[in-house]
Structures are given as C-alpha cells and as structure tokens.
C-alpha cells in the first residue's frame, strides 16, 4: 500500500496531472457556489471531455470537481440562504443566521475548516479502510436503512426551537410531500389529481429553495434597503477557542458522514442532514441550533465532505456507487474500459492511488483556495439589494428549473415560498419540513420493503441488532426532552417545598 501511495503521489505531481487537478478544484468551487450548478451536473458535462484524456488526468478532473463542489455550496447557503448544491441544505439552518448576525466571515471560515477536515478524514478512511468498510455496508438492509432514517427524523425535537408540536407537524408535512407522485413500489399514483406533472412527485430542491430563499426575498422586498458600501465578508479561519468548541462536532460528524456515505444510495445530502440532526441532539447547546452557532455549520459541512469521500468506498471496492455522482463516475470508469470492483486495487492500482492522493490534495486545497475565492465571491454583498434581490430570484428559478427542466418545479418553488413566508410569520420552524422531505423517500420505501421481507412482521426491526440499536436511540431521543422536563419540574417542586418548610 505504501508503495502504491507513493506512486500515486508521484503521478499526481506530474505537471499536466496537477494542472488538471487545479482546474477541477476551481471548476468545483465555481460550480458549487452558483445555485443551479452542482458537482453532479459538472461531472456529467465534463464526462465526454474526459474521454479524450488519459485516465489518470480524467479521473483527477472529475473527482476533484466532486470533492470541492460539495464544500462551495455552503458559500451561497451562508450568504444568501440559497444552498449552491443540495449537500449544503443543512448549512442554511445556522449559516445564514450567523451571516445575519454579522458573523458571515466566521461561518464561512468554519465551513472551510470543517469541509477540509471532513474531506481529508473521509479520504484517509477511503485509503486505509475501504475493504473492511465495504463488507460492513453489505450488512445494511431495509430494516437498518429505515431505522437510520427514523433516527434522523427524531431530531425534530431539537430543530423545533422549543415547540415540539409545530416541529412534528412540520416533519409530518415534509414526509407527506415526499409521498406525492407515483408510488415506487406499486406504481399507484398518489395525490396527483390526474396531473402528469405531479406524477413525477415534488422534488426537494424546489421545496428547499422556496421555503428558505423565496420566502426570504418576499420578506426583504417589503423592507427598506440601505446600501452598506463598507459591508465586506472575508472568511476568517476559526481561532483556537472556536476550533476547540467545534472539534468534537467535526470529529463525530466526519465519522458519521463517512459511515453514511458508504451506504449505497444515501448520499452526502442525507449525511449532512443526519449529522446536523445528531449534532443538535447531543450538543450541550442543542436549543441554540438554528439560531446561528458554529456547531450548526461545522456538523453538516464536515459530514457532507466526509460522505462524498465515503461514497467512493463501495464504488472502488465493490463497483457499487454510493451516490448519484459516484454512479456517474462508475460510468466514467466503464467508458475508459475499467471495471470497478474488488480486483480494481490489483489491476488498476496506480490509477486508484493517483485518484486517492488527488482527493486528499483537493480537500487540502480547500483550505488554501477557499479564502481568496470567497473574498471575490462575497464582493457581491456590496452590490445593492435592488440588483442582488432580482438576481437571487433568477438563480433560484434557474436552479430549480435545472433539476428536471420543469416549469412546474418553478411554480412549486413559488408555492413553497408563500408557505414558508407564512409559516415563519407564525413561528413555525422550517427545518423539520426539509428534514421530512429529504428523509421521507428513504423512510417510507425502506419501511415497506422491510415489512415485505418479514411478511408484515414488525419484529424485524427489533430482531436485527443494528436496526434495534437505531430504534432504541430514536425512542430515547424522543422521550428525553419530556423526561428531562419532568425531572426538572420535580426538582423545582421539591426545592420550592423545602424553601416553604424552611421559611
């Protein structure tokens, strides 16, 4: 392995290969930063271009775009409440509030640091633990996937800003939105009202952009805008105190991100959401999540980069893609006459180790290139909102349209913009809705598949150890706020009666 890594390192620093890596990193930054362009889209577009290249250069280009675009989606998520890529959806929850508090630079710095750390961690796991992790991932089946999704959903308690009823309504609503369309298991149309467009369902991108970005624009248009010529956001890498504060979150989220990324079909978006959920659950500051705290940015950003790397594990070791983008990379391998799978490390060792070293360097380059890139990008903030506002709307429309080339999706975006506006006025948290929409398809599909596997015997969730573990954790996390409240109430009553007796 060491020889392979050294060989890969040598290959990477050949002038042309390194140049291609840098091009890929820059393209990933630009593409991920602009809503409407995602890493997946760029990889698809450049796939035919890469065919003419040497395999090492081709895969360095494609994988570096993939790695860096996952980070740069957070830039517009933090500055404009519009995630540049789906993987940055959870970064909006705390990133934008931080920017509103004047801590945009801090949020971006945390994002850079967390993304680089998560990405490097994920790559190291990819390098050293690929065969072991791949075999663990194979133990996951429908009950485990459902239990994992359920655990992610139960964090709604932390995302609800103290109002559990509203939070659970939001999650139910989000889960319901995910059911609209043709049922994947039986082909039955659900809630389509005979509409051909509704048969494709409602994608989560229009929901997300509508709830967060459009509702914000609808609010801002009613306000007076003063041009703040001095407003500048330059990212500040976290100081020692902040690093200490977020280090635990980054460690846990990176681990969780890699783990989720390894599971085929889950992806970095879900990993980011689940990591945010878990960080909110276990943090001492769980009630502050959603108000703009560093942990709320660090968790999803480290997880999504780690997951992006983790998704390469099943691809390289088993030939099974872990996400949409790795599915395209699988196509790229086949295009170049390479069959991914267990023998790949033996037959294409030089190429694999070059790719791995390329990923490592690309994630490290986030630390170096992100700061100047953000300085340029954030000059946008000095532009008056009379220009920025319409441009944000334009990017929202294009970003939504780009998902499925559907004007209907753009209409849905507007509908959810209105819904988000009124829900926020009524102090409804929006994050649980997004949680429901993102995790809904996995939760329902895997639940029904699990029930089919067991002939409608629900004990399947309790007889499989991994699924049982997740379900027990879910139950604890739902009951914990109530038990905690009850204990505190009893303590208060006890201390009140002691004081009464004493007086």
């Amino acid at each position: 392995m060491i020889e392979g890594l050294l060989g890969g390192f040598g290959n990477l620093f050949q002038p042309f290969n390194f140049f291609i890596l840098m091009v890929g990193v820059l393209l990933g930054f630009i593409g991920g930063g602009i809503p409407g362009i995602s890493g997946t889209m760029l990889v698809i577009i450049l796939l035919p271009v890469s065919y003419a290249m040497d395999p090492a250069a081709a895969f360095l280009l494609l994988t570096s775009i993939y790695a860096t675009s996952v980070f740069s989606g957070s830039i517009s998520a933090i500055l404009f409440r519009t995630p540049g890529t789906p993987e940055a959806v959870a970064t909006v929850f705390d990133g934008y509030p931080m920017a509103k508090k004047g801590e945009g630079g801090k949020a971006l710095g945390i994002s850079i640091f967390s993304s680089a750390t998560g990405g490097v961690f994920g790559t190291l796991v990819l390098i050293f633990l690929t065969p072991l992790l791949a075999s663990f991932a194979l133990r996951f089946s429908s009950p485990e996937y459902f239990a994992l999704a359920l655990m992610g959903l139960t964090v709604v308690a932390s995302l609800s800003a103290g109002n559990l009823v509203k939070g659970f309504i939001g999650v139910s609503f989000g889960l319901f939105i995910a059911t609209i369309g043709i049922d994947t298991m039986t082909g039955v149309p659900r809630f389509t009202f005979g509409s051909g467009q509704l048969m494709s369902g409602i994608d989560f991108i229009p929901v997300l952009i509508g709830l967060f970005a459009i509702s914000e624009v609808l609010r801002r248009v009613q306000q007076v805008h003063k041009v703040n010529a001095k407003q500048k956001v330059s990212s500040e890498l976290p100081n020692w105190n902040v690093m200490k504060r977020i280090s635990g979150v980054i460690g846990r989220s990176s681990l969780l991100g890699v783990f989720i990324g390894i599971l085929p079909g889950i992806g970095a978006t879900t990993a980011a959401m689940l990591s945010y959920s878990e960080a909110a659950r276990w943090s001492k500051r769980s009630k502050e999540f959603g108000t703009g705290i560093p942990e709320g940015v660090a968790a999803p950003e480290s997880a999504n980069n780690a997951a992006a790397m983790g998704a390469m594990v099943p691809l390289l070791s088993l030939g099974i893609p872990g996400s949409a983008t790795t599915a395209i990379l699988l196509g790229a391998f086949i295009l170049h006459g390479i069959q991914p799978g267990p023998l790949m490390f033996t037959t294409q060792g030089s190429l694999i180790y070059t790719i791995l070293m390329g990923l490592l360097v690309a994630n490290l380059l986030i630390l170096v290139i992100a700061k100047p890139f953000i300085s340029v990008f954030s000059k946008i903030l000095q532009v008056p909102y009379t220009i920025i506002g319409p441009l944000i709307v334009l990017f929202c429309i294009v970003g939504t349209f780009a998902v499925r080339n559907s004007i209907f999706d753009v209409a849905m975006m507007l509908v959810f913009g209105i819904i988000g506006y009124y829900l926020e006025n009524a102090k409804f948290p929006l994050a649980p809705i997004v949680l429901g929409v993102v995790l809904g398809p996995i939760a329902e599909d895997q639940f029904r598949r699990a029930m089919q596997m067991s002939n409608n015997d629900i004990s399947i969730f309790f007889t499989r150890p991994i699924a049982l573990t997740f379900i027990v954790l879910s139950i604890i996390s739902i009951l914990y706020p109530f038990i905690n409240k009850w204990i505190k109430k009893r303590k208060n009553n006890a201390s009140d009666s002691d004081q009464t007796v004493a007086s």
Partner: protein
Amino acid sequence: MQLERNLSIIMIVFSSFFLVMSLQVENRTGNFISAGTWPAALMILMLILSVILLMRALKVKNVENIKGDDIDSADADNEEQLVHPKKFFLLFAVLATYIFILGYVGFIAATILGIFVMALLFGMKSYIRALLTGILATAGSIVLFPILLNLPFPRGTGIFYSLSLLFY
C-alpha cells in the same frame, strides 16, 4: 396568535382532506401495508397535532382576553419593520406572471421583463438601470447555462422560439 390559529385550522382541513384521499389510494398488492398506509398515518398524526395546536392557540387567546394583554402586538414590535407590505403581493404577482408566461414567451423575453420589474419593485429608481440589469442578467444566464453547460432553457412559441434560436 391569530395567524397561528388560522394556520392550525388550515392544517386540520388539509390533513382531513388528504387522510380521506389516502384511504382511497388503490391497494394493488392486497397487503396490509399498501401505498396509502404511510400517508394516512402521517395525516392522522398531523390532524391530531393540528388540533392540539388549535386548542393551544385558543387557550392563549382566552388568557389574552382575561389579562387584557395583546401578545400579537408585542410579536409585531419584535419583528423587523416591513415598510412596504403591499410589495409582497406585487412580487408574488410578478413571479406568478413570470412563471405563467415563461413557456409562451421563452426565457429571454420573460427574464428581461421579470428582472426589470423586480428591480423597480426592490427600489431601483432608474428605469434604464433596471432594464440594463435585466438584459445583463439574462445574457449572463444564457452564456452560462444553455451555451456553456448545455442546460436547455424554455424557448417559448412562435417569434419567441425563433428569437431564442439566435442565442442558444
């Protein structure tokens, strides 16, 4: 509080309606758990929670009436000043119109017009500047998306379709 009360009533109606629809979803497999089971369970949960929310909202309203406090105005004071509330409806109308005409007049015409009107709505004083913003934003989007990234934009119909072919 009034908004919360109204929203909870809307949610009760929403969840009741879709609960009935869920129970009518065809069960092709004959299994106990069918395509309608999951949405039905969600709607039952949402209905119960919406009723709880409505009862809470009414309880708070009763407390307000007894105490003579007006919590709503305190909430309003805490929010940022919305100086032009009518612009919400205007922007909504602009966006709805934009979406409606997009398929007919194509991306170029719809976006130039849409950005022009939105810039004025957001407070731009100069008509020329607003028009320039619309033209430049549209041009930039066309270069970036349909030309560089091969993402097809709506072309519209008739003369607008022909116009789009000149650019992408």
